[in-house]
Amino acid sequence: MLELRHVSKHFLGIPAVADVTFSARAGEITGYLGPNGSGKSTTMKMITGLIEATSGDILFRGVPIQQDLIAWKQRMGYVPEEPHLYTHLSGLEYLVMVGQLRNLPTRETADRIDGLLRLFTLHSDRHAPISAYSKGMRQKVLLSAALLHNPELILLDEPFSGLDVGTGLVLRSLIQELAARGKVVLFSSHELETVERVCSHVVILHRGKIVADDSIERLRALMAVPTLEGIFSQLAVEQDTDAISREIADLIQA
């Protein structure tokens, strides 16, 4: 289980994440939702160890991750929000490098990379430089790199970004399959329909603070709203969306 206890992060004294406490259990897919700038990616980066929390604890299976950050990184797979990759390498070279950096056995890793490239339909382009890849292809490289070492915890920050319909469906099933095999999956997305279909449990963040942390069924019942979109709108959207869209249309016509 991944646990966050009273985690806060301040940048230049300004809170980006404030007193966040929630847990993501093994076998479950936890959706981590929130509007732009609510602190989702900051939380993800704290969990990966990319940035340090100002206060609070992050624990995995009861042990603070900071206790042995190297061992923690060995158990975690991460797909970042932006597909920044070393574009002078080919897709294959990038994945081989990730395998080596994770100290994985050479032969098994080569077979695994080959399999992932085939299943993600990148095999024919494996020797092309990443600079020539489309956004979707880059996303597939990121997913392959995150899954290469069979991690216990998978952090997915906008994983569907740029993927075609077919690969999107594959990824959706894959996330469910991985959770069914006992992995902890923390999944951040703006695609509420997908979250609703995939996740058993959601955490909604607004202005750096948690405003909901429960199963989707219970939230529906509690708030008497039939969809996740409705729940999200009530908890995290402050604006009158219809009024704003009317104003925009008026503004550009003026």
Partner: protein, 573 residues
């Protein structure tokens, strides 16, 4: 063409002559500091030469000697301007054509291709003009006055404040710079008419080739700036291919001091300038519009060469990953290769200056000689130092998150990987080439003895270069403003030049005296072991965290007396 569109694009392209994404967040993503540094170097050079012009007193100098002096100086200033413009052309190589980002962003906007093209040309021309003006601001004010005071012309007598030499100087410098830059552009333009894949592959070779050519011509061209040398029939073939002398002729013509020796050179300068400008106008314009169409369809970098994909293991898995990454980064990044070539160019200069010394020339006639030995030492040292400098410049700082989320320990593992990379990319090629040359041309025993000492000396430099290197090569962001390292590097390179004379003589003696050789060998082995031990102790004493952001040492140290919600003096917290 909309003036506003042109202004916006011009400004954007002008500030994009430098790649801002390489800079550390501490540099606040702003190119001012970097541009300031470049301008400072040029200004220092300019002020130094300008002061020389002010302080120079030619009274009492015979007329013939003054003529040779002024011609040599004019030639030196012209060839230096051409070198700086050449380096500018090499460094802004990729900025002269539109990249994919430009095309994708601007294609959706109602901007005419002509506006886009003219803004790009204007930005590059402004950069070029600025470089020429900054470089010549000092000498361009003082030397024309000094040089012209010997032969006042009618114009000077009529208008004391407008000196013909002054006008001639600036026209010549701008014409020389334009000639060189247009020549580079026309070569690029003609190459860009080839299929884009071939062009991308050829482009990096052309860039490196241009860099080496400019530096070699500047350093190796013979001194022919005297009437006798310019008229000598044996020099005519050489003068026909050395543009810096053509522009010396042009200067003399504009200055009203044209002689039979310089008249053909001036003619050649005008013809050369006309050809370069017209070829550029056609080739660059054609290739620019073609590139605009092709850039969207094809990748930015050409696919790797098939045979070079496989690389062997270099130690543990992590070390192998880092070393392979370093090899691929250096072999595929044109920018990094050019910077390394710059350091090798400096080494080449020192070697040439060293070998041209009459003392060295005398020794060169003997078989086993100190000058050649020391040339190999200089090349090896500069190759290692240049590669270490290049390690500090990132390939893509935004992509380094992958190393940050990997289970990599700092300290020994990090240094070991960097050490292997440095050995492979610098020590092995430099030492290998030297070993081949010495084993081929010298008696095997002397060659072997020198090659062993050379290898050990290289190992000492590698170890010293890794002092407190808690980084992975090509991953840490770069912070401009650390001029000390560069100043120290230049200072040490001159110190090295002095040391090589003494070291060369000592080694030459050691090759004849086995006891002395054994002592030097033992001493070097001891130094390598000690430095390596010292580096390891230093690294282990520090926190074992790999550094990915170059941070600025604050001038004022904060006490950290702040709480959450109160503005901190420490960035990021």
């Amino acid at each position: 063409m909309s003036k506003l569109q042109f202004r916006v694009l011009y400004r954007e392209f002008l500030f994009r002559l430098v790649d801002l994404e390489l800079l550390s967040p501490d540099a606040h993503g702003d190119a001012n500091k970097l541009l300031g540094q470049i301008a400072t170097v040029l200004t220092m050079y300019s002020v130094g030469l300008g002061l020389g012009g002010l302080l120079f007193d030619h009274r009492g100098m015979p007329a013939a000697a003054f003529e040779i002096f002024s011609m040599s100086l004019e030639h030196f200033l012209i060839s230096t301007t051409m070198l700086v413009v050449g380096l500018f052309a090499v460094l802004s190589w990729d900025s002269t054509f539109p990249d994919r980002r430009d095309v994708l962003v601007l294609a959706a906007l109602p901007v005419r291709t002509r506006t886009f093209f003219l803004a790009r040309v204007a930005a590059v021309a402004s950069g070029l003009a600025l470089a020429v003006v900054v470089l010549n601001a000092g000498p361009g004010l003082t030397w024309p006055l000094t040089l012209s005071s010997a032969n006042p012309s009618f114009l000077e007598m009529a208008l004391p404040f407008v000196r013909r030499t002054f006008v001639a100087y600036w026209i010549t410098m701008l014409a020389a710079g334009t000639f060189l830059f247009c020549s580079v552009l026309s070569i690029q333009g003609v190459a860009a008419l080839l299929p884009r894949r071939i062009f991308l592959r050829l482009s990096s070779f052309l860039q490196l080739g241009s860099f080496v050519t400019f530096l070699s011509v500047y350093l190796l061209q013979p001194a022919l700036a005297s009437p006798a040398a310019l008229l000598a029939p044996r020099n005519q073939k050489l003068l026909a291919v050395l543009p810096s002398y053509w522009f010396l002729g042009l200067f003399q013509q504009l200055n009203g001091t044209l002689s039979p020796a310089t008249a053909p050179l001036a003619r050649r300068a005008w013809i050369g300038l006309a050809i370069a400008m017209s070829t550029t106008a056609v080739a660059y314009a054609l290739s620019y519009f073609r590139t605009l169409r092709k850039v969207v369809e094809e990748p930015d970098i050409a696919p790797g060469i098939r045979g070079l994909r496989w690389l062997p293991a270099f130690g543990s898995a992590v070390e192998t990953a880092i070393v392979q990454f370093s090899i691929r980064a250096l072999s595929r990044s044109r920018q990094h290769r050019v910077i390394l070539a710059f350091y090798l160019g400096i080494a080449f200069t020192i070697v040439i200056a060293f070998l041209k010394d009459p003392r060295a020339q005398r020794q060169m006639t003997a078989g086993v000689n100190a000058p050649l030995m020391m040339s190999s030492v200089v090349m090896l040292c500069f190759w290692i130092i240049g590669t270490r400098m290049v390690f500090a410049i990132p390939v893509n700082p935004r992509a380094n998150w992958i190393f940050r989320v990997m289970p990599i320990r700092g300290g020994g593992q990090c240094v070991s990987a960097a050490r292997r990379s440095l050995y492979l990319l610098a020590w092995v090629p430099a030492w290998g080439v030297s070993a081949a040359i010495f084993l081929y041309s010298w008696p095997w025993r002397a060659a072997l003895e020198h090659v062993i000492l050379l290898g050990l000396l290289g190992a000492v430099v590698v170890e010293l270069a890794l002092y407190r290197f808690q980084k992975l090569p090509f991953t840490c962001s770069w912070l401009p403003g650390q001029a000390f390292a560069r100043v120290a590097f230049v200072a040490y390179s001159f110190l090295l030049q002095l040391l090589v004379y003494e070291g060369g003589a000592l080694e030459r003696r050691a090759l004849d005296e086995p006891v002395l050789y054994a002592e030097i060998l033992a001493c070097l082995v001891g130094v390598v072991a000690t430095v390596r031990w010292w580096i390891t102790v230093e690294i282990n004493a520090e926190e074992s965290v790999v550094s990915f952001e170059e941070t600025q040492t604050p001038i004022i140290t904060g006490l950290g007396l702040f709480r959450d919600g109160v503005l901190s003096t420490q960035a990021g917290e």
